[in-house]
Structures are given as structure tokens and as C-alpha cells.
């Protein structure tokens, strides 16, 4: 008994489906046959019907049509695709039977399309892709339709909504339905549609709402008020995400400042040496990245992993040379040290100019650095900035651990606190000085690798960062690595929040001026070093 019912059901299903497919087959053939006789005006509704026929052949037809590959034989009205391979040989395929056919007799005529038709085809394809089994294609199709909601019928949408199981796509489709309801001007559906739209951050939703706000004859005064309220909610949300984005940009700028400044925080803060050539250490690091990429052009993906230690070594070595040749003779004369290291920076700049030319050099970014992470329509995060934040934080903590845990770190701190006492305890202070200076310079080199991914690499690269780095160190409190972290991040964020108000140049001027005032009020910085005097 049960078995019989099942059989009947299967039978009914089978015949029904075959009937449907047969019907759509015939419909598609009939529609295609009309192609040769249609003009631009009648082509649009025809294509609409072809797309709605649910025939598997329709998507290819639409695609080939927009590429201009569809021809017909004027005498027999046979419609066919033409394909040309690299040698220019033409092959023909019948549209209805999808069989390859011989070169037809007589001249062929093209089914002509214009831009309007091409846009239409794009929308129709999006509608068809809405039924594609691949989730990614469905998502992008839904986004495509969102851009022009009038291109789709509500029934089509509802049909899809009933079948759709992916949350993200359902959300977008809901928004599309709501937009259609809103545009229809139906007061009964207004509340429903507005509730849906309130949660959406898509720029298109906002634009539509703005439009509807101005269509006074379509909506009553109270619904206009409702629309306004929803628009305000959306704007508030977008603004909030704008702040989040600003903070993120600020953190990424701050982490660049941090990387540039922690080297200085060591040499200036710990050793008390003013190194005006610090910016040039950054520049050398950036050029090392360039050289690494020139030496191993095949290893672009890994070039940064090679460049980081290489830059550390190059800048660190140059730093040690500077310390041994110049700075050690100027101990206790900070102003002279400033002058001498400035001289060194001029020499290094000119050296780079002579070796690499004064023009900017292009440093490539590996594949994995590009792209971005779209969190929602109003907020996206680029990978390179994200990596830079993570990288600079890890360098910072590595340095912190190094100074706290390693024996060299212990010596460095001992010499910084009390040179004479450290010497008395048989610490070789000269050697420690050189190593500290090398460490600080090496980290500047690493900063150069990071900067090479963000800006142009040129001989003046370091100049732009030296004053900022000094201010970060002084602002945070000399000799205090945590202070440098806090001050770099807060300066970065401050800069990014000022930028939209005043423009980028004015923002950096304001920050500079603000810092100058701050330092005059509080010369010890945010977190002064604990000491006996003062």
C-alpha cells in the first residue's frame, strides 16, 4: 500500500518535471527563433523572457550575446555562435541544438547589441547566477542586483529566498526585497521594509533612502519622518564604523612610528646619544629590501623574510661602525654628537644617491601583503596595514624580552643606569655601547623594510621620519620603551582623526605644534624616568 503511493508520487513527479522541461525547451527554441527579427527595442523584453525560461542554454546565450558572438543566417533564420581561435579559423555552433555545424552558406548577420542591452544582459546574468550552486557566485550576483534593484522581479527574489540557505545571501536578498517595497511607495509595507533596511550599511541602501526622502508626492509626511529616522540610524552606524576605521589607520601609522622610534628609544633613551643619522639607518633598511628583491627576483613571496634579518645586519653594522669611529669620542658632549651624526647622515644620503641614483626605487609587495578583509560594507581592513601592526608589536615585545631576559640586555640596562658602577662590576661598557648602538640601528633597519612596503624608497626617506621619531621618544618619556609604545600609538591615532578635519599636512603640523607645547609643559614626557634628582 505504502509502496504503491510512493510509486505514484514518483511517477507524478517524474512526468511533471519532464513536462516542465519539455515546455521550457520548446519555449527557449521559440524565443531564440525570434532573435533574428528583433530590433533593439524588442530585444530587451525578449532577452528578459529568455533569462526567465530557466533553460540551461540561456546563460551561454546571454554571455555570448554580450560578447557579440551571436550570428544568424538571413535565409534560414538559423541562429548560431561563432568562435575564433588564435589562428583566426572560425567554428560555428547551433544555438538550439548546441551541435557544431559546418560553415554555413551565404553571408552571416550579427545579432547586434548596444550598451543598454549589454547592461541588461549583465543584470539578467546576475539573476541567473542567483541560482548558481556556487555560493561565491550567488553572493556576488546578489551584490550586483543590489546596485539596481529595479532589474529584478519580486517573485524571482521570493522564489530564491525560499530555497536559499546561506545567511549572508539571505540578508542581502532581504535588503533587496525591502528596497523594492520601499520604492513601490506602498505605505502598508513601509514599516517592514524600514525595519530590514535599518540594519544595512550598504551605500546603495543609503542612496535609495536619500532618494525616497525627496520623493514627497510618493510618501506621506509621517513615513518621510520614518525614513529620515532610519537614515539617521544608518548614518550613525556608518560614522561609528568610520571611527573604528580611523582608529585602525591611526594604529597602523602609530606602529610605523613605533618601529621608527624604538631604535631611537634605545640609542637616545638608554645610551643618551643623539643620533641624527637614525633616519638614514631606516633608509638603509629600505634599500636593503630593494637589493634583496633585485638579487632574488624569483623569491618575491619570501623577500621580506630575507630582507628583515638582512636589513637588521646591514643597519646594525653601519651603526656599530659609526659608534666606533665617531660617537665614542664625543661622550658627554651631546650637542657635538648631534652635529657629527648629522654629518654622518649627510654622507650616507649622498652615498646612497651616488650608488643607487637620486631617483626613488620601486620595491615590490609580495602577493600576501595585498588585498583586504571586508568586515562589513562600511569597514574593511587592508592586510598590509594589519601585518604591519602585528609585526611592529612583535618587534617591540621581542626587544622588551631581550632587554629584560638576556645577559646583554642586563648589561645594557646596567650601563644605562650607572656607567661607573657597571664598569666597576667588570662590564665592558665600551663593548656594550657598541652593541646597544648596533641593536638600535638594526631595529631602525627593520623599520626601513616595513616602510619600503608603504612609501617610495629614496635617499630622503629617513629625513621624513627622524623628527617624528624624536618626538615620539621625547613625548613618551626618554628611556621608557612602554612610553614610546603609548606615545607612538596615540600620535598615530591623533593624526588620523585630525586629517579629515584639516587635511594631512595641516594635521601633521598641528601634531608637531601640539607636541612642542606639550614638551615645554612637561619636558620629561608622559612617563618620566624614575630617578633621584629633579
Amino acid at each position: 500500500m505504502n509502496f504503491n503511493i510512493l510509486r505514484i508520487v514518483i511517477l507524478i513527479c517524474f512526468t511533471w518535471s519532464s513536462l516542465v522541461s519539455a515546455k521550457s525547451d520548446a519555449q527557449f527554441d521559440k524565443l531564440v527563433a525570434k532573435l533574428p527579427t528583433s530590433n533593439f527595442k524588442s530585444l530587451a523584453p525578449l532577452l528578459d523572457k529568455i533569462a526567465l525560461s530557466d533553460d540551461p542554454r540561456s546563460s551561454e546565450l546571454l554571455g555570448r550575446l554580450s560578447q557579440g558572438d551571436v550570428y544568424f543566417v538571413p535565409s534560414s533564420k538559423q541562429v548560431l555562435y561563432m568562435a575564433k581561435d588564435a589562428q583566426g579559423t572560425r567554428t560555428y555552433t547551433d544555438v538550439i541544438t548546441t551541435q557544431a555545424i559546418d560553415t554555413p552558406q551565404g553571408r552571416l548577420k550579427k545579432v547586434r547589441v548596444n550598451n543598454y542591452i549589454r547592461t541588461l544582459i549583465q543584470q539578467l546574468q546576475a539573476q541567473q547566477n542567483l541560482n548558481n550552486p556556487d555560493k561565491v557566485i550567488r553572493l556576488s550576483a546578489a551584490k550586483e542586483i543590489l546596485r539596481d534593484v529595479d532589474s529584478i522581479y519580486t517573485e524571482t527574489l521570493n522564489k530564491r529566498l525560499a530555497k536559499e540557505d546561506d545567511e549572508e545571501i539571505i540578508d542581502i536578498l532581504d535588503v533587496i526585497v525591502a528596497l523594492k517595497q520601499l520604492k513601490s511607495g506602498d505605505e502598508n509595507q513601509l514599516d517592514d521594509s524600514l525595519t530590514v533596511l535599518k540594519g544595512s550599511l550598504e551605500p546603495d541602501v543609503r542612496a535609495t533612502l536619500m532618494n525616497e526622502l525627496n520623493a514627497i508626492d510618493k510618501h506621506s509626511a509621517s513615513s518621510i519622518k520614518d525614513i529620515q529616522r532610519v537614515l539617521d540610524t544608518i548614518d550613525r552606524k556608518r560614522k561609528w564604523y568610520g571611527y573604528v576605521e580611523n582608529i585602525f589607520f591611526g594604529l597602523s601609522l602609530g606602529s610605523v612610528l613605533l618601529l621608527a622610534a624604538i631604535g631611537l628609544a634605545i640609542t637616545f633613551g638608554v645610551m643618551g646619544v643623539i643620533n641624527m643619522a637614525h633616519g638614514e639607518m631606516i633608509m638603509l633598511g629600505a634599500y636593503t629590501t630593494y637589493v634583496v628583491q633585485q638579487l632574488f627576483p624569483d623569491l618575491l613571496t619570501y623577500s621580506l623574510f630575507i630582507a628583515v634579518p638582512a636589513a637588521f645586519l646591514v643597519s646594525g653594522l653601519v651603526g656599530i661602525i659609526i659608534e666606533r669611529c665617531v660617537i665614542q669620542f664625543l661622550k658627554g658632549r651631546p650637542l657635538e654628537t648631534l652635529l657629527a651624526t648629522f654629518g654622518v647622515s649627510l654622507i650616507l644620503q649622498q652615498l646612497v644617491r651616488t650608488v643607487f641614483s637620486p631617483l626613488n626605487r620601486q620595491v615590490a609587495s609580495p602577493e600576501w601583503m595585498s588585498g583586504s578583509w571586508q568586515i562589513n560594507p562600511a569597514l574593511s581592513v587592508t592586510f598590509n596595514r594589519l601585518y604591519i601592526i602585528l609585526f611592529s608589536l612583535s618587534v617591540f615585545f621581542a626587544l622588551l624580552v631581550f632587554l629584560k631576559k638576556s645577559s646583554l640586555g642586563l648589561h645594557v640596562r646596567a650601563v644605562a643606569q650607572n656607567r661607573e658602577m657597571a664598569k666597576a662590576l667588570s662590564i665592558k661598557s665600551n663593548w656594550v655601547d657598541a652593541a646597544t648602538f648596533g641593536l638600535g640601528s638594526g631595529i631602525a633597519g627593520i623599520a626601513g623594510v616595513v616602510l619600503s612596503q608603504l612609501t617610495n624608497v629614496g635617499p630622503n626617506l629617513g629625513q621624513a621620519y627622524i623628527i617624528d621619531s624624536f618626538l615620539v621618544v621625547v613625548f613618551g618619556g626618554v628611556g621608557n620603551l612602554w612610553g614610546a609604545l603609548v606615545s607612538a600609538m596615540s600620535l598615530g591615532i591623533l593624526n588620523k582623526f585630525l586629517e579629515p578635519l584639516t587635511g594631512p599636512v595641516m594635521a601633521s603640523i598641528l601634531v608637531l605644534v601640539g607636541l612642542v607645547f606639550f614638551i615645554q609643559k612637561r619636558p620629561q614626557g608622559l612617563f618620566p624616568k624614575k630617578g633621584r634628582a629633579e
Binding site: 665617531v326 657629527a340 654622518v344 650616507l348 599636512v505 601633521s508 603640523i509 615645554q520
Partner: protein
């Protein structure tokens, strides 16, 4: 009698300056072109430029050499004075500019400004311009000085802050919205007080004015550092704390000196602009300020005349070297920074004045050579 009069450095410098000025003018006007005594107008102009640098170096030496304030912002005061003069010269162009606007300078017409911004008002008056030349750098230095010295910012911190100040000003003046011609600065000047800037006579007069200003400035500086207040300033340089314990208000001494020095720098800038015919935001760049420091260091700081010597020597070497080998100049300048600080802390003047120092330098160098050979 003559030898006796010639004994102080003040008189020596004054006499040298007067003699040079008079000689250059006579050589330019009296001797015909082609004569070996002839000094070309180009050289007169160049000398005038160098003397402006000398005045600038003098102003820095006053604060650095005598008060220990190593300002890396004197280029900014110089440029501000220059801009003040440049504004007057722009207004003098009148309707002879490219766009022929009788009131607005060309760049403002180009940027669609409808009227002069407020800070340009009055700049067509020469008297007001002279006031601006001194007041703008003076007020900036006064405010900066009061804030910095009252909170006891000194040494390297002060240097970096002055550098930040000039850097911020540079960024600001690069902006078109500032109303100072942006990137291109102010240029295309035609005449000053009705005299054409291209004419030889105007240039000679400007040169003479520069000589006279330098002379007066030198005299005043010398009086400042030798009077009683000058001794206090020297005391501040060597131990500020001790001086303040004795009962002096060190802040006011420092602020006065810093402000006066900035005004001198502004005057130098105002003399410089009509002679070179352009002022642009590049003058604010930190490297310019630091070059002034190296003039003073090379000449010998704390002597006043050393600053003049240093500015002249370095500028002369710069124009010679950049002409011969453009690449080499930065190497040379960088090398000078290092070598002078390492081996010649008292500069050229220190070597010439003090035979012992000369001997010491030779000993030091030979010692190091010997050590290197030994190692």
C-alpha cells in the same frame, strides 16, 4: 697708535668690513671691465649674499657660542624675515605681473583668491615691512623662548624642538592655502622703493646696506657680550644653576638674547631676498638651519668674528665645490661636521689664534696615525 687702535677684535672686524665694502664698490664702479682690479656685478651680488649668511651666523653665534642655546631653528627666523620682505616686493610688482592684477600677486590670481588675506594688509608700506621683518621672528622667538626656557628645556631637547618648529613651518609654508605662494614661494620681483632690482646701482646699494648692517650688528653684539649682562649670559652658558642661585633671573636673559638673535636673523633674511630674488619654503628646511650651525662651528663659536669667517669660508667652498663636483658637496659638508666636531672644537679661529691649539691638533692627529700604524 695705529697698532694700538687695531688691537681689539671689534675694531679689526669693523675695519676689515669697511675696507672690503669700500674696495668692492670702488672696484666695481671705477675700474673698467677686464681690468684685474674689476669686481663684476655678479661677484658683488654673491658677496652680498655671503654677508647675509655671515649676519645669520653671527646671530646664531650670539645664542650658541655665548649662551649655549644650540638653535636648529634660525633658518626659520631667517626665512620669516625673508618672507616679510618678499611680500613687500610682491606688492611692488603692482600690475606688471603676468595677470596684470594691480592688487593681487600672480599666485593669488592663479589660485582664484578674491582679495588679499589679512596678514598681507599694509605690506605695500616699506616702514610696515621693516617692522614685520623684525617683529615676526622676534615675537615667535619670544613666545618660543618664554615657554621653553621657563620650563627649563635646554641642550639637545631645545635643539630638537627648534628643529621641529622649523619643520612645521616648512610644511605650513608649502601649503597653497597659507597665502605665501606655496611651493614656488615669492619671486619675479621687479623693484624696491622704486629702484629696479636688476640695475647695478641698486645691487651696489643693497651690498653696501648689507655691509653696514653687519657692521652695526657686530658692534651691538660685541657690546652685548662684553657688558655686564653679557658676563651673566656667559655664566648661564657654563652653569645656569649657579647663576640662578646667585640671584639672577636666567630666563629673562635667555629670552632676551634669543629674541634679539632671531630679529638679527630676520634682518639677514630681509637683506637676502632682494639680492637673490626669490624666497621659497625650502629656506625653512631643517638642513638649512643645521648648515648655519656648521658655519659657526667651523669658524669657531663664542668669538662672533669666527661665525663670520665660518659662514664666508663654507659658503665660498660650497659654491666652488657644487660648481666643480655637484655630488661631492654633501660628502664634504658631512665630513666637515664630523671632522670639526672631532678635531677642531674651536674652529678655524681657534687654530689661528692659538698656537698651542694648533700644535695640539697636530699632535692629536699624528698620535692617532701612529696608533693606527701600531694597531
Amino acid at each position: 697708535m695705529m697698532m694700538n687702535w687695531f688691537s681689539t677684535s671689534l675694531r679689526r672686524v669693523c675695519l676689515t668690513l669697511i675696507l672690503t665694502g669700500v674696495y668692492v664698490v670702488i672696484a666695481n664702479v671705477v675700474f673698467p671691465e677686464g681690468s684685474i682690479f674689476h669686481v663684476s656685478s655678479y661677484t658683488v651680488n654673491l658677496l652680498g649674499k655671503y654677508l647675509c649668511y655671515a649676519l645669520l651666523a653671527l646671530s646664531l653665534d650670539l645664542v650658541w657660542g655665548y649662551c649655549g642655546i644650540m638653535s636648529l631653528g634660525h633658518g626659520a627666523f631667517f626665512a620669516l624675515g625673508g618672507y616679510a620682505m618678499g611680500m613687500y616686493l610682491m606688492r611692488q610688482i603692482g600690475d606688471r605681473g603676468v595677470y596684470g592684477n594691480p592688487i593681487l600677486p600672480d599666485f593669488m590670481v592663479f589660485l582664484d583668491w578674491s582679495s588679499l588675506p589679512w596678514f598681507w594688509s599694509g605690506t605695500d608700506s616699506f616702514i610696515w615691512t621693516l617692522f614685520l621683518v623684525m617683529a615676526v621672528p622676534g615675537v615667535l622667538a619670544f613666545i618660543f623662548g618664554v615657554m621653553a626656557f621657563r620650563s627649563k628645556v635646554s641642550g639637545v631637547y631645545l635643539s630638537i624642538m627648534t628643529q621641529a618648529m622649523t619643520y612645521a613651518l616648512m610644511l605650513a609654508f608649502f601649503r597653497n592655502e597659507m597665502g605665501f605662494g606655496g611651493n614656488n614661494g615669492l619671486t619675479d620681483f621687479k623693484d624696491i622703493l622704486g629702484f629696479s632690482l636688476q640695475s647695478n646701482n641698486t645691487r651696489l646699494v643693497l651690498f653696501m646696506l648689507t655691509v653696514i648692517t653687519l657692521l652695526v650688528a657686530y658692534y651691538v653684539c660685541d657690546k652685548i657680550v662684553t657688558c655686564k649682562a653679557g658676563k651673566v649670559v656667559l655664566g648661564i652658558r657654563d652653569s645656569e644653576r649657579r647663576v640662578s642661585f646667585v640671584g639672577y633671573n636666567t630666563v629673562s636673559f635667555k629670552v632676551f638674547l634669543f629674541t634679539f638673535s632671531a630679529i638679527l636673523a630676520g634682518i639677514a633674511g630681509a637683506l637676502y631676498v632682494p639680492q637673490v630674488g626669490i624666497i621659497n619654503p625650502g629656506e625653512f628646511s631643517p638642513i638649512n638651519s643645521i648648515e648655519i650651525v656648521i658655519w659657526v662651528a667651523i669658524g669657531g663659536r663664542g668669538t662672533l668674528y669666527g661665525a663670520i669667517v665660518g659662514a664666508l669660508v663654507v659658503s665660498f667652498a660650497k659654491s666652488k665645490l657644487t660648481g666643480l663636483m655637484p655630488e661631492a658637496w654633501l660628502f664634504a659638508l658631512g665630513g666637515l661636521f664630523v671632522l670639526v666636531t672631532l678635531f677642531m672644537p674651536k674652529g678655524i679661529v681657534g687654530l689661528i689664534n692659538n698656537p698651542e691649539a694648533r700644535q695640539a691638533l697636530i699632535n692629536k692627529l699624528s698620535l692617532r696615525l701612529a696608533r693606527k700604524k701600531g694597531a
